[in-house]
Each structure stands twice: as structure tokens, then as C-alpha cells.
């Protein structure tokens, strides 16, 4: 599965844009987070690797912006395993291991749509890092 970030304009949220793409291309799109108002919105969605090209092309054709979300990264050298980030994480991507070290699961993390842990870290070991969008472009030419 690949996580992509879709930004919809005011005009696009007024229409059933996502539903149309799902029906038209018969692709499973799993919405993980969504911030949508009448002025526009953004979704973080999970899509199967093989549908990546179809989905990205379809959204772009309708005028939506498609990017890879920023990823959360924990600098293990800076982290002193306090755990301040653990209770803040809404998706249980950060947990405390048996040996009391802080573990991070990139798969569960919803990245830049949340980022709640970044400012909760007293060691400033957590960063929201931009992904290289080239990969997305190369896959969808």
C-alpha cells in the first residue's frame, strides 16, 4: 500500500470527486484522515501499489493536487526514550517496548496530516520530513 495526500479545491469538494474516481476506475481507496470544509480539503489515502498510477492520474485529471505526505522521522541519537510522544499519538504508531525504549512504526503513522508528536518531543528528536516526490512522478508518467 502507498499513502498519498490529495488536495481538493473548493470546486472539487462541491462534487463527489472521490466517489466518481472509485466508481469509474474501480480502485479501492481507503481514506485514513480527512480535513474537508466547503472551502476545500485534504485527504490522506491508502491505495494498493498497483493502482497508484491510475489513482494519481485520475485525481490530477480532475484538477486535484497529489503529493506524497511528509513522513515522521525519529532521530535515535537525539531520542532519550522519555515517552512524551507516546500518549499523544492518535494511531498507536509510537509505543513503549518491553525494554522501555520508544518504538516507532512508520506503517501506522499518518505523517504530516497529524504531526502531533513533533512538538511534544522535549529532545527535539522528531521531525516531519518531506518525501521525494520524484518517485511519484516516475511511477505515473
Amino acid at each position: 500500500m502507498v499513502k498519498i495526500l490529495i488536495k481538493l479545491s473548493e470546486e472539487l469538494v462541491a462534487k463527489p470527486t472521490t466517489a466518481e474516481i472509485i466508481l469509474e476506475h474501480k480502485v479501492p481507496i481507503n481514506i485514513i484522515t480527512a480535513h474537508v470544509t466547503s472551502k476545500g480539503g485534504d485527504y490522506l489515502v491508502d491505495i494498493p501499489d498497483e493502482s497508484l498510477e491510475t489513482v494519481v492520474t485520475a485525481f490530477r485529471k480532475k484538477g486535484a493536487m497529489v503529493t506524497l505526505p511528509k513522513l515522521i522521522e525519529i532521530d535515535k541519537d537525539k531520542c532519550f526514550n522519555c515517552g512524551a510522544c507516546v500518549s499523544i499519538c492518535p494511531v498507536e504508531a509510537i509505543t513503549v517496548a518491553e525494554d522501555k525504549s520508544v518504538n516507532f512504526d512508520q506503517e501506522k503513522c499518518v505523517g504530516s496530516t497529524c504531526s502531533a508528536c513533533v512538538e511534544a518531543c522535549p529532545a527535539r528528536a522528531i521531525k516531519s520530513v518531506k518525501q521525494n516526490n520524484h518517485e511519484l512522478e516516475n511511477n505515473t508518467h
Binding site: 522519555c82 515517552g83 512524551a84 500518549s87 499523544i88 513503549v96 522501555k100 522535549p122
Partner: protein, 471 residues
């Protein structure tokens, strides 16, 4: 040891175990370091000093300085502070010292700027006046907004909880009557050896909130056990690693060091209430705290630690190996620490203003009124804020003279279209400082004062606050 007492009893454990090592690694704000930077030529009697832009105290004579862990960088503010300066020096990094002075006949110099490492310092001693809290509160936030505290980021409506302290591994928890920990006790401090020099400030042993004052040679310390930290929206601090060996001198001590997390309780405290005595919502054990979830009013809340249990264990383990290898010798205290001292509150000789003391009678309206009528009321009553209420006098919204002006310009007539419905409010018994801070945070100039049933009691305006508080 704890397991041995449980399986074989106190007597056997007392016979078999000589020393129990303990450890903790947490944010300890009342920490800092004394440094002596040596004399410059011509000499300077430092009046003001900064290291890496962080203001440094000058408590002594010409070139004795104290780096407080919570002092903030003038440029980077919360992102870099005294704790970070100490960590950088301990790591061997070069720091920039700037100092100014008024100049005297014997110390004529008025400015100096130089770069220093710990090797250039005559003395570099960690001197922490309150460390190693025996236990601490568990913090939650009962309000509707995220708050940023020294207990970390607290999500609204009790959506998370934080705690601090090592529980059964805490040094003072294992010697609660201060039989072996006293003035002169040699300890693990910041990766090296240090000493207990006194009870800590705010030492409150009768309520299991004991503390100690410690000192150690920072030149020998390691950044693994001494880390600068930033709490978003709150400030800087220093994470300090501290461990104490407890010699098992008698059966009583063998029993005391067997203490378990399930027997150590602390209060769940609502940090959204900006008072000295905050509401206590529940009591929980360190066992529950370490399990990742606590229960408050039948609700499960995710809880996480602010101090590192992993490093606390490493400290206790390191201390154990030092003792086993003959690198660390236990000392008996030269004097006992007080066990009956009381932590007093500040004596306040002037009254504290509360919202009720400045609130005014509100000018109100109903949601179905015409904007023109409200505009007239603003003029005749000469106010800027009209509170919208329902028939029971309960808060429905607020409308300002600016809202009315804009409505007129846009040709709107219905109040319902322009009033603000999500209103930031105040309570009558709230300190005026807290209400004033909320106005500043939300960039607004008045707060309706409401009771628990949201009935409007009055209004407090920024103008009235500044008249009283002079800001």
C-alpha cells in the same frame, strides 16, 4: 532484591544483599552549573553574561557564573536554553561567552567576547538545588483546548495523561526515612560521581515529595545522562540522570527497598486549572502509570512517561557495576536530612484579583433581534460587546461593534448570520491573570463571564483588566 524479598522474605534478603542501586532520569528544572571562567586581561567584573545567547547569572564576584537550566536563549527562546548550554559544554563543544560590565578602577574592562570549552573553565560543577522528586503528579487537561505545560503537551478533555518519575526505582522511594541518604552521600550524577549536599528545596518528606540538592564535577559527566530539553509552549530544562546506592543496613531497610510500583500512588491532576491547588481527579499507582493506561471516572486514558525508565534502569545497572568493580565507594552521611520539614506556600501580603472583582454588568440581546436595534444599544450603552442570550439568560454568542459595522457594509440584517457562536468565556472565581492571558492568546478584547450552567453573569474586558493590572 524486590523479587528476593517477595520469594524468600525480608530476613533472607537482608542476609544476602548488601546494596541496592536505584536510578532516575527526568526533567529537573531546578538544576544548573557553576562555572568560573578565569580572569581576562585587563580584568572584568562581569555584570551581565550570555553563553550561546543564553543569559547567565552572576551570583558571585568577578568571573563566577551560574548557568540555570531554564534560562532561555534571547534569539531562540524556548528552543535553546541553559540545559542545552550545559549539555554542549559537557559534550566538549565550544561555546561563546559574551559579558558586559560597568568598569571599576580594579576591573576596568566593560566588554568581553570569547569562545570556551569545558577544558578552559577553572571549575564546572553541576549544582542542582532540587532533584530526584520522590514521586510526582500525573497530569491531564480537563479543558476544551490543548495546553502546553511542564508536564508536556496535554490534549483537551482528558485525551492523554503524562507522568514523571521512576516509581519503585526512584532513589528516595527506596529510603523514605533517609536512613542512608544524607549530606555527603556519594551518588551517580550525570554519568559521573557526585554528592548529596542537602535536602532539596521544597523538600516535603511527610507527603512523599522528598527532594535532594546535589553537586558533581560536570567535566567528568556524559551527555548520555545530562540532556538539554525544550517543552513546547513552556520552556527549557535539563534532563538529569541520578542514582543512589542504598546499603541494606538492617531488616527494616530490606523491607523498604522491596517497595513495588503498585504500592506507590500519586494524584491525577487537572493542569488546565491555573491555580496552585489544582483539582485532583483520581489516585493511580505507578504500576498503572507504567502500563500505558489509567482509569479516571470510568474512562480509560492513554498515559505516557516524561522521564526515561530505560535510562533509569541503565543508571541503576551502571552504579551496580561500578560498585562491583571497586570504582565506586559508598559513604555514610555526615548529617541526616530533615524528615519533618514542611513545604509552605508564598505569604501574599497583597490580594490577588479575580474575574469577579472587575466584571461588569453585561449588555445583552436575543438572537432574533434586528441588527439596527443592537447597533443603537452599542451607542446608547457605549460598549463594544453585546452578549447574545436565550430566554434563560444562557450564553448563545457574542457580537462586537466591528461585527455590526461589517454587517452594515455587507448589507446583512440578521444577527444569527454575524454573531460568534463559539465564545471564549471566563469563570467568576478565575484569577484575572488567567482570563487576561486567554484574551491575549485568542486575540480578543472581552470574555463573557458564565456560571456552570452557562448562565451569563457579566463581562470582563481587556480595558478593565489593564486598568487593574496595569498592562
Amino acid at each position: 532484591m524486590k523479587r528476593l524479598v517477595e520469594s524468600s522474605g525480608v530476613e533472607v534478603a537482608f542476609r544476602e544483599v548488601d546494596v541496592v542501586t536505584t536510578g532516575t532520569f527526568g526533567a529537573m528544572c531546578s538544576s544548573g552549573a557553576i562555572i568560573n571562567v578565569g580572569h581576562s586581561d585587563p580584568p572584568i567584573k562581569i555584570e551581565k553574561a550570555w553563553i550561546n545567547d543564553v543569559p547567565i547569572c552572576h551570583p558571585g564576584a568577578a568571573v563566577d557564573l551560574y548557568i540555570g537550566a531554564t534560562s532561555m536563549s534571547e534569539r531562540q527562546r524556548l528552543e535553546y536554553g541553559g540545559g542545552h548550554v550545559i549539555e554542549d559544554l559537557v559534550s566538549g563543544k565550544e561555546v561563546e561567552l559574551k559579558a558586559t560590565a560597568y568598569g571599576t578602577d580594579c576591573y576596568p574592562r566593560t566588554q568581553v567576547k570569547t569562545r570556551l570549552t569545558k577544558d578552559d573553565l577553572n571549575q564546572f560543577y553541576l549544582l542542582n538545588f532540587r532533584n530526584c522528586y520522590q514521586r510526582y503528579n500525573c497530569a491531564v487537561n480537563g479543558s476544551d483546548e490543548t495546553i502546553y505545560t511542564y508536564m508536556g503537551k496535554l490534549l483537551p478533555r482528558l485525551r492523554n495523561a503524562t507522568f514523571s518519575g521512576a516509581g519503585e526505582l526512584n532513589p528516595l522511594m527506596n529510603d523514605p526515612d533517609y536512613e542512608t541518604i544524607g549530606i555527603g552521600t556519594r551518588i551517580f550524577l550525570g554519568g559521573s560521581q557526585g554528592y548529596v549536599i542537602s535536602e532539596g528545596t521544597q523538600h516535603d518528606p511527610q507527603n512523599s515529595f522528598g527532594t535532594i540538592m546535589v553537586r558533581g564535577d560536570a567535566k567528568q559527566m556524559s551527555p548520555e545522562f545530562l540532556r538539554g530539553a525544550s517543552f513546547t509552549g513552556y520552556g527549557n530544562t535539563l534532563y538529569v540522570g541520578l542514582g543512589i546506592p542504598i546499603p541494606i543496613l538492617n531488616e527494616g531497610l530490606a523491607k523498604k527497598v522491596a517497595i513495588r510500583d503498585e504500592k506507590i500512588f500519586t494524584n491525577v491532576v487537572d493542569y488546565s486549572v491555573p491555580r496552585k491547588d489544582r483539582p485532583k481527579l483520581a489516585q493511580v499507582s505507578y504500576k498503572e502509570l507504567k502500563s500505558g493506561a489509567i482509569t479516571v471516572n470510568d474512562r480509560k486514558i492513554k498515559v505516557s512517561s516524561l522521564s526515561s525508565l530505560k535510562t533509569a534502569r541503565k543508571i541503576a545497572g551502571t552504579l551496580k557495576s561500578w560498585i562491583a568493580n571497586g570504582e565506586f565507594f559508598l559513604t555514610s552521611p555526615v548529617e541526616r536530612l530533615p524528615v519533618d520539614s514542611v513545604f509552605k506556600s508564598m505569604r501574599q501580603t497583597e490580594g490577588t484579583p479575580f474575574v469577579v472583582s472587575v466584571m461588569q454588568k453585561p449588555v445583552t440581546c436575543y438572537a432574533d433581534e434586528d441588527i439596527r436595534a443592537i447597533a443603537e444599544r452599542i451607542v446608547t450603552r457605549s460598549v463594544n460587546h453585546i452578549i447574545v442570550v436565550d430566554e434563560d439568560e444562557k450564553l448563545g454568542g457574542i457580537v462586537t461593534s466591528w461585527d455590526i459595522t461589517r454587517a452594515m457594509a455587507e448589507g446583512k440584517t440578521a444577527l444569527a448570520d454575524i454573531m460568534t457562536r463559539r465564545v471564549v468565556t471566563a469563570k467568576p472565581d478565575e484569577p484575572l491573570d488567567a482570563a487576561s492571558r486567554r484574551m491575549a492568546q485568542h486575540n480578543i478584547s472581552a470574555l463573557p463571564v458564565i456560571d456552570a450552567k452557562r448562565k451569563v453573569l457579566g463581562i470582563v474586558t481587556a480595558e478593565d483588566v489593564s486598568k487593574l493590572l496595569g498592562r
